[in-house]
Amino acid sequence: MKKILIIEDELDMLEVLGDKFSAENFEVLKAKNGDEGLEVSLREHPDIILLDLVMPKMDGMTTMKKLREDEWGKTVPIIILTNLSATDEKLIMGMVEGEPMYYLVKSDWKIKDVVKKVKEALNM
């Protein structure tokens, strides 16, 4: 069973994603912000991380940067979940350029497409 960590400050969002991935037979770990997410990741070493960008305490980009500083974290696939505009999307692309394992999904996708993207990243 693959282990997925969802880092998301919107609790409803966190819940719906958790429910879906549970239904898809994932072991689901949850974190409400970047700080917590970093801690859970380093402790639990999930197979993949679903990361929101705009969050209190520590935002998504900082969390990602810190993760990449860790030996294990260097290669973990990260999916950025965003409801930002195409412009901001472009900004993210620029910031994460050269990232080893990075994907982007948008919150207006169908949830089954989010799952598809996750599975794709895990070669499932």
């Binding site: 969002m13 819940e15 719906v16 994603l17 879906k20 409801n83 412009t87 919150s107 207006d108």
Partner: protein, 507 residues
Amino acid sequence: MTETKLKKENMYIKNRLSALSPIFHKMALGDFSFDIDIPEKEDEFTELLVTLDLMKDDINELVRELATSEKELEEKVKNRTDELHQKIIKIDLLNENLKDSQHATLNILEDLNEEKEKVEQKVKDQTKDLKEEKDKIETIIESIGDGVFVIDPEFKIILFNKAATLISGLSTKSVLGKRYKDTLKFVFEENEKISDDFVKEAMIASKIIEISNHTVLIKKDGSKVPVAGKVAPIKNKKGKIIGCVIAFRDVTKEREIDRAKTEFVSLASHQLRTPLSTINWYAEMLLEGDIGKIDSGQKNYLEKIYRNNKRMVALVDALLNVSRIELGTLAMDLKSIDIQKASEDLISEFIPQIRNKKIKIKTNYDKDLPHIHTDLKFIRIIFQNLLSNSIKYTPADGEILLTIEKSNSHILITVSDTGYGIPENQESMIFTKLFRADNVKEYDTDGTGLGLYIVKSIVRQLKGKIWFDSLMFTRVVAGKKERYGTKFYVSLPIDIMEKEKEPRGVG
């Protein structure tokens, strides 16, 4: 000769001479009516008498002739005198008339003089009134809170009120009599190019023109003030344009409020998106049977929830786009775009709706359309809105035609339909934010009134143009003539940068 004979001869001479005496006497008196007896004896005396008699006859003849010509002369003189008399009478008459006229003229002159004095007084009074009126108007203009200046046909400033001095930082004295272009710098905010065509435009179009959005005035100290306002041509009674009045105001505050409003909308929309996404995903999961099979009644309700939620997402997206446009954060991402492919992709996304309404869609692309250097997401928004409007506002079995043509530096996209059209009296509103035409509200309650506003803003950002024809077809329905159809045109530069390089006409 003897003495007797001498005496005898003397006597004879004496007798003969005395016979001549009465003749000479009469002649001396001018009487030539006498007869002369010519004696039979032929001598010098007889000869003399014959000569006299002939002379007398000649004289008589002459006298007679003279008398005749004198009579004729008299006759002529009389005639001429009569003529002259007639003429004199005529002249007298004329003279009389002339006198009358002269008299009348004098009277008129007198009247005129009086009238002139009256008019002069009136003019004096009116001038006074006018001056008072002018002073009043000037005081009013001076006191208006908006900046106001007036220019003459040579574009020279002839009035410049206090608010104008406050906004511009220029004193009235320093601008009066100068061409407004030399003193007031109205420029476009984004590129600082001169933006004062509005005056020319108002004069040419002879109507009130709005100062274009995003115009700023460069103050005396070099700082910039965003301004808005209107330019009105001044016409005389004959309709000739004799100047222009420009009223403008500092819109810094309005801009701030607008920005705050837009930021609020942006923030609110962002906040709305998360719950909407959650609803979306749960509805989707239920419909997919993730937590158990659902029956057809449940499916029906869930589909309604899902569809309506999608609508809400679309509205929030539109609002977000609008706020991004207004905040200027909708940045362009320029790439080489295959416009035909973009169009075909979009059409394929609409196939379910097109099939549902049994609408026929035709396309007509110019051969070898060039790739255009532009922003794909903008192009998609343009196609999306124009196509979805056409589909929404065309009744079943209608037709939609999409064409793309190329010209030298532009491509022209047209989307025409056989739909309800745009009411004539609402044509000018169609690109206005939140506006929806009356006739389509009843067919479709989904519309946000944002689509064409967004399209227009985007087309502007892409340095293109958008316009439309409406109600260009006519058909007869139940014996009544009915106009229908709408055709939108979008012209876009093939290379947006190319267009930018072109020198812009600065009037």
